[in-house]
């Protein structure tokens, strides 16, 4: 079973995403912010990361940049999932090494489609 780390400061979003991902046969872990996510990744790199942008402590883009500098940090497929929906944010995310980008609101269809674009399913 593939591992997916869901990083979002909203408990509701984490719960919704987790339910969809578990239906897609992912094993899920959760983190509330970038700092928590980074320390979890330093222990075990997941196969996929669903990543919010705006979070306290460490935001999504700073987490992504830090992740890609870690040893093995180039491995996880990172899918942003955020309300930021302008071209500037999307290109910044891609430049920092994001593999796909979901603009909220999302549903299971979009999550499925984007995970399959990213080669995860």
């Amino acid at each position: 079973m593939k591992q997916c780390l869901v990083v979002d400061d909203s408990r509701v979003i984490r719960k919704v995403a987790r339910r969809i991902l578990e239906d897609m046969e992912f094993n899920c872990a959760e983190a509330e912010d970038g700092a928590q996510a980074l320390s979890q990744c330093q222990k075990t790199m997941p196969d996929a990361i669903l990543l919010d942008w705006n979070m306290p402590v460490m935001n999504g883009i700073d987490f992504l940049k830090a992740l890609r500098r870690e040893s093995g940090g180039d491995q996880p497929v990172v899918v942003f999932c955020t309300t930021e929906n302008d071209m500037g944010h999307i290109t910044e995310a891609l430049r920092a090494g994001a593999n796909e980008y979901i603009m909220k609101p999302f549903d299971s269809e979009i999550l499925n489609a984007k995970f399959s674009e990213a080669g995860l399913v």
Binding site: N85, D86, M87, I90, T91, L94, E100, Y101, I102, M103, F106, E109, I110, A113, K114, E117
Partner: protein, 277 residues
Amino acid sequence: MQTENFQFLADLLMKKSGHLLAPEKGYLLDSRLGPIARKEGVDSVDELVRSMRTRNDERLNWAITEAMTTNETFFFRDRTPFDLFKAEVIPHLVENRRPGVKARIWCAAASAGQEPYSLAMILREERTALRGMQMDILASDISEKVIEKAKAGIYSQFEVQRGLPVQLLVKYFQKDGDMWKVDPSLRQNIAFRTFNLLESFRTLGTFDVVFCRNVLIYFNQETKRDILNRIAERMAPDGFLFLGAAETVLGLSDAFEPVAGKRGLYRRKQMAQAKVA
């Protein structure tokens, strides 16, 4: 809905678009025709059909036919046909067409434009493989409304997240308020027009590739057979036909044969073989 009203609608659709209205699709009537009923100032779809039966209003007949068409579509729908277009069709045409001759693609049920734009993006991405070969796309659909949308090339956030990789979104779209607009350069080789598949194809010219996906399912066997045979007449002898995942030529047309192992892809049968078969 009253039986005679349902039958009237079924006959109307058969005549105008060739589409079958199966009784189990009756549930669609309220959601699709309700807005027209309200616009005409009547209380129900039954009432609307009753009033249609007494006057023969072509404008209203057409509005109803159009409202009953299904326009479900998304970018790179089913993916496989687009992979096959890249891996099989482009190399074949580059190899077998004279330099300087444009190849032609027909999207015969183009809906709101996602299919032709997906192809246009592939043509841009595969520029090297095309070795200078140009391809024009004719995008047609029976519904004027969806062809207008296709021409405008403006899509919602939801639509651009169905099937479109984000790298292509960034490359070929611009944000326009809450919507996303296709880069005008993608439209350069696409001609959009409304076209009813029951009409003669003679005015359309000939094609190297035809995408006729997820539309035959709405016709009866006889109309399916007729459309497939008329497509064959408009195709280059080595042309390619793409059908939807739930569609086939088998038992309908001898003019095509499936390409082994390539789901949804068909070739014109060579004449000698067709006679034997």
